[in-house]
Amino acid sequence: MTHHTIPEAGNPATAAPEALTTHEDIDQPPVRDKDRASQWRLVWWRFRSHRLAMIGLAGLIIFYSVALFAPFLAPYSSSTFDSDYIYAPPQQLHLVSDGDWGLHVYGYELEQDPDTFALTHTENPDDRIDLGFFVQGDPYTVIGPVTWDRHLIGPTDAEDPVYLLGADRLGRDLFSMIIHGTRISMTIGLVGVALAFGLGVTLGGISGYVGGRTDTLIQRAVEFFMSLPTLPLWLGLAAALPRDWGTTQRYFAITIILALVAWTDLARVVRGRFLSLRTEEFVVSARLDGARGRRVIFRHMLPSFSSHLIASLTLSIPAMILAETSLSFLGLGLRAPTISWGVLLEQAQNFRVLQDAPWLLLPGLAVVLAVLSLNFVGDGLRDAADPYRS
């Protein structure tokens, strides 16, 4: 790969005229603006032409919005359960029945097996449960002391059972649970990657910039970490976490454990970039100008490969999400009462349960969609990361 890196990319003096360009410029054909557009604008143009990446970006925006507004979007709170509806199957949404319009589902008819006491649920067409938007339901906190009790969608009478995606082993609404789980599952990747980023950039940067013996030492460490099978390591570390730790403590401990392995990839990327940039003319000239090491790194080198860095970061989030899901699925990651997609999937471990309630696999669909979106965006970013390449 060749790097026609423009040294002024991160320089505020050249960034100023770019700020004057109006918003309409984006919609004009890029050919005319190409020479005066900033690096980031070029990256965006290139990214935009990648169709899958744009789909992925839309998916990501949806996922993180769901994470942000989870209590409002979910029909029920994360602690709402009804033991009458354990493993109740998903209800079908109806728009019209008996010529009566309106979004509604049918209530359940409960039957108990006299021998096994197992409950079976069948939908009862006579028991109509109306659904509404902005309905009153379980109260939740918005920010600090501010609470609200409106939910985007839910039964008009909060007492009615609505299980759009079925119920789990505690009789909780799986749809609400998946929405609540989005928070943990989508942020654990971000926090983990942020930690790994710190480690990776520092060590990789030192390794690539200083070179010599330090480089060899750090590279050996990276190789060592990469040669370890990650899951046994994670499992061992996760099993070592004290059982009486609170949910927050556990959350951060798990992210640290995940980051311990993930930093190596980033360190290699950063080192490679530093090595290839070290001899570029603009870096040499900056050094000859008397710029100190820190200034050379942060002012001249880092801006020229930050887009690559963001692409690598995006591509390492999915691995984190998958790892958290796997650990929690095995019962060694996050634990109830924390709700994440992995914790929800743990219920599906037993294939007898799976036979009766296959909808318990649905959190897995959320995992797959989230990982796909992130991979698409990461791929698009990687292709767009070097906009000066023709």
């Binding site: 040669s227 370890l228 046994p232 699925f329 060694l332 797959v368």
Partner: protein
């Protein structure tokens, strides 16, 4: 070549020592030890143990010694006597438990590796040669999906399909009638009949990754001037492809064993747990949950060592095929 191998072997020694320390440190991390777990269990059952017995047990296993003493006892027994210690939970030597599960783990990992290659190779070549064809798009989509679907989810989904569509539970490596039978041709066939499910489940992610790598490499090679020159000389397309670009593009393929292997070993644990296979994975999980430290430590150690050895083998293979590797590393 010999110098290359010699130096790589030398590099391996500190790596292996480090791995053994990490493995031992991990199993030492949890507060308490197996005796604590045992006491808690007995108390839950309404029994109790007198202090003298507890002391005797601790003393016997050296559980109250400092870390380095325990580590040294552990590792020297393994290296010099091949003794992996005693599993508290199973009340059997760890070596025995490993002997009955490790062959299956290796069989599964190795056959998955072969499967991954057998599938990824033709698909990768196809998608590079026929770039942007329908087949390429299909392969790319499947590759993306393969990376995005967690192994255990695929295993669960397959299990559910087998259960509802074919009406038979999948899982294990043998049918009931062969489970405790001595080895025979019938048992071998039965094993093959069971092996393909975990193999496919484990192989998807690796295959997907390799297809992407091979496709990218081959595309880079195909654009180079020497390919144009070969074509101008009137060589057939097949010959052009197989004779030059493919051989260059395959190099990274081999070097990826280094990261495919750790991933396979990791994936094996979770897939085996879901499909209840008689491999080291489920054994490790149980050992970690009950703080059966010698068993857990031995499995982590062995699995890591095997991975490092596998990576070394792939490096040697790569050096054998590509002179740049063995000369450049001088």
């Amino acid at each position: 070549m010999l110098t290359f191998i010699g130096r790589r072997l030398l590099y391996m020694v500190p790596t292996l020592i480090l791995i053994s320390i990490v493995a031992f440190a991990i199993i030492q991390l949890p507060p308490g030890d197996y005796i604590t777990t045992m006491i808690a269990q007995m108390e839950a059952d309404g029994q109790s143990m007198d202090a003298a017995t507890i002391e005797a047990l601790r003393d016997r296993y050296g559980l109250d010694q400092p870390f380095y003493v325990q580590y040294w006892t552990w590792i020297s027994n393994i290296v010099f006597h091949g003794d992996f210690g005693h599993s508290f939970q199973w009340n059997r030597p760890v070596g025995y438990l490993l002997g009955s599960t490790l062959p299956f783990t290796m069989l599964l990992t190795f056959s998955t590796l072969l499967f991954t290659w057998a599938i990824a190779f033709p698909i990768g070549i196809f998608s590079a040669v026929k770039q942007y064809s329908i087949g390429d798009y299909v392969a790319t989509t499947i590759a993306f999906l393969g990376v995005a679907i967690p192994n255990f989810l695929l295993a669960l989904a397959l299990m559910y399909i087998a259960l509802t569509v074919f009406g038979q539970p999948v899982g294990g490596l043998f049918s009931d009638e062969y489970a405790s039978a001595p080895w025979s041709f019938g048992k071998f066939l039965d094993l093959l009949g069971h092996l393909w499910i975990p193999m496919v489940v484990l192989g998807t992610a690796g295959t997907a990754g390799l297809v992407r790598v091979l496709r990218a490499n081959l595309l880079d090679e195909l654009r180079k001037p020497y390919v144009v020159a070969a074509r101008a000389h009137g060589l057939t397309e097949r010959r052009i492809l197989l004779k030059y670009p493919l051989r260059v593009a395959v190099n990274p393929f081999l070097s990826t064993i280094g990261w495919v292997l750790p991933a396979l070993v990791s994936g094996e644990i979770i897939v085996s747990q879901v499909l209840s296979l008689p491999t080291t994975g489920p054994l490790l999980l149980r050992a970690l949950r009950s703080q059966d430290m010698y068993l857990a430590g031995a499995i982590i150690l062995i699995v890591s060592v095997l991975t490092v050895v596998g990576t070394l083998l792939s490096d040697i293979l790569l050096a054998r095929l590509d002179p740049r590797v063995r000369l450049g590393a001088r």
